[in-house]
Symmetry: C2
Subunit: 219 residues, 2 copies
DNA sequence: CCTACCGATCGGTAGG
DNA sequence: CCTACCGATCGGTAGG
C-alpha cells in the first residue's frame, strides 16, 4: 500500500486531487500575473506568493518556469476550444454562428479569470521551440472552427468584397480568418473592461464588431 | 572655447554628430533585438555588443534601459508618421489613400530595419507610465491620419456594413479604425517575410487586405 | 566610451 | 511543500 502522504513523482499530473488543485491554482495565478506584467517580468516568487507558497515550491509542480507558461497556454486553448464548440452548437444560422464566435472570443480574451489566451498572444516568444510545436497543434484545431464558419460567410456573400453568394478559395478563407481574428485578438492591446458608464461592455463590443464585418442579408 | 573631445553631458541629444550617430546606432540595434527577443529578454550587454561597445557604455547615451525603449518607440512613431504622410500625399482618391495607408503600414511593421513599431506593439507594458503618456500623444496624431481616410471610406459606402453613401458617427469611425488597424497590426504575430516562393510578399499582403476590407465602387 | 565592479535579484536545487 | 541556499546574470555606477 503506497504512502499517500509522501509527495513523490513531481512535475507530472497527479491523481491526488490536492496536487491537481495546487497545480491548477498555480496555473491560474500565473495566467493573471503573466497577463498583467508579462512572462519575463513575473518571477517565480510572485507566482508562489500568489498561491501562498514559498519561492522554491512551484518547482515541485513544474520542472521549470517555461513549463508553467506552456501549461497556461494549453489550458487556455482547451478551455477556449470548449467554449467555442458549446457556443457554435447553440447557433443554427451562419449569421448566428458568426455572432457566437465573435462574442465567445471576446469572453475568452477579456473575461475575469480568462487570461490564458491573452498570455498566449503576448508571450508566445518566450516559449521554447518544442513547446511551440505542441501548442500549434491545438491552436490549429481552434482556428479550424473559425475558418469553417468564415467560409460559409464568404460563400453566402456575408463577409468581404462579394455581396452575392460566391465560391471562395482557401486563401480567401485563410485571409478572412487572419483579418477577423486579428482585429478581435488585437483588442487585448487596447480594450479595458471598466465600470465607467460610457465604456463598451463585451456585448457592445461584439455587436459593433459583427456590424462592422457582417453584411446584412438584405443588402 | 569648450573642449570638443571631452564626453560631457550624457543622456541628452547632442550636437556632436558622432554622439548622435552612436545614439542612433544603439536605438536601431535595440529595436532589432527587442523585436526578436522582447525587451525583458534583451540585456544591455546584448545591445552594447551589437554596436561594438562594452556593457556599461550604453548608459553614457541613455539614463537607463527604459529610456532606450522609449527612444525606440518615439523614433518608430515619428518615422511611421512621416511615411504615412508621404504616402497619403501621393494619393488622390479615397481608395488610393486607403491602399496607401495599408501598404505603408505593412512596410512600417515588416520592412527590414523597421522594427520600431513592432516593438511598440509588443513591449508597450514595459514602458514606465510617464513615458506611456508621452508616446500616446504622438500615437494619437498617427491614428488621426488613419481615422480621416476611414471616415471618408465609411461615408462613401466603401467600408463596413453600408454599401451606399451614408453619414457615419464618430464611434463607427473609431471602431472601423480599431478593427482595420487591429487586423493589420496583428500581422506582427504571424507574418514572416521569407524567400520561399509561395510566401506572400508585402505587396500581396496589402492587396489581399484591401480586397478584404474595401468594397469596389461598382457594388 | 572603457575598466572594474557592486548590490540585487532570479531561476532553480538539495535535503528533509 | 518548506528551509536554506547557490551560481549566474543583470542593470547600473564610479572614476578615469
Amino acid at each position: 500500500m503506497p504512502d499517500r502522504k509522501s509527495p513523490k513523482s513531481p512535475h507530472s499530473t497527479q491523481d491526488n486531487p490536492d496536487e491537481v488543485n495546487r497545480r491548477q491554482a498555480l496555473i491560474r495565478a500565473s495566467a493573471r500575473l503573466f497577463r498583467e506584467k508579462g512572462y519575463d517580468a513575473t518571477t517565480v516568487r510572485d507566482i508562489a506568493a500568489a498561491v501562498g507558497m514559498r519561492s522554491g515550491s512551484p518547482f515541485y509542480h513544474f520542472k521549470n518556469k517555461q513549463e508553467i507558461l506552456k501549461a497556461v497556454m494549453e489550458v487556455g486553448l482547451h478551455q477556449g476550444f470548449d467554449r467555442i464548440v458549446a457556443a457554435l452548437s447553440k447557433a443554427t444560422t451562419v449569421q448566428a454562428r458568426f455572432r457566437a464566435l465573435v462574442r465567445t472570443q471576446y469572453g475568452i480574451l477579456h473575461d475575469d479569470g480568462s487570461e490564458f489566451i491573452a498570455v498566449l498572444l503576448y508571450d508566445w516568444r518566450s516559449l521554447p521551440t518544442e513547446s511551440m510545436q505542441e501548442i500549434i497543434r491545438v491552436k490549429d484545431r481552434y482556428d479550424a472552427l473559425w475558418q469553417e464558419t468564415l467560409r460559409e460567410m464568404l460563400q453566402a456573400g456575408l463577409l468581404g468584397a462579394h455581396t452575392h453568394p460566391h465560391p471562395s478559395s482557401e486563401s480567401d478563407e485563410k485571409m478572412a480568418r487572419l483579418m477577423v481574428m486579428g482585429a478581435i485578438n488585437f483588442t487585448v492591446t487596447w480594450y479595458k473592461q471598466k465600470t465607467e458608464p460610457d465604456q463598451m461592455d463585451l456585448d457592445a463590443l461584439a455587436d459593433a464588431t459583427v456590424r462592422f464585418f457582417m453584411r446584412s442579408s438584405t443588402n
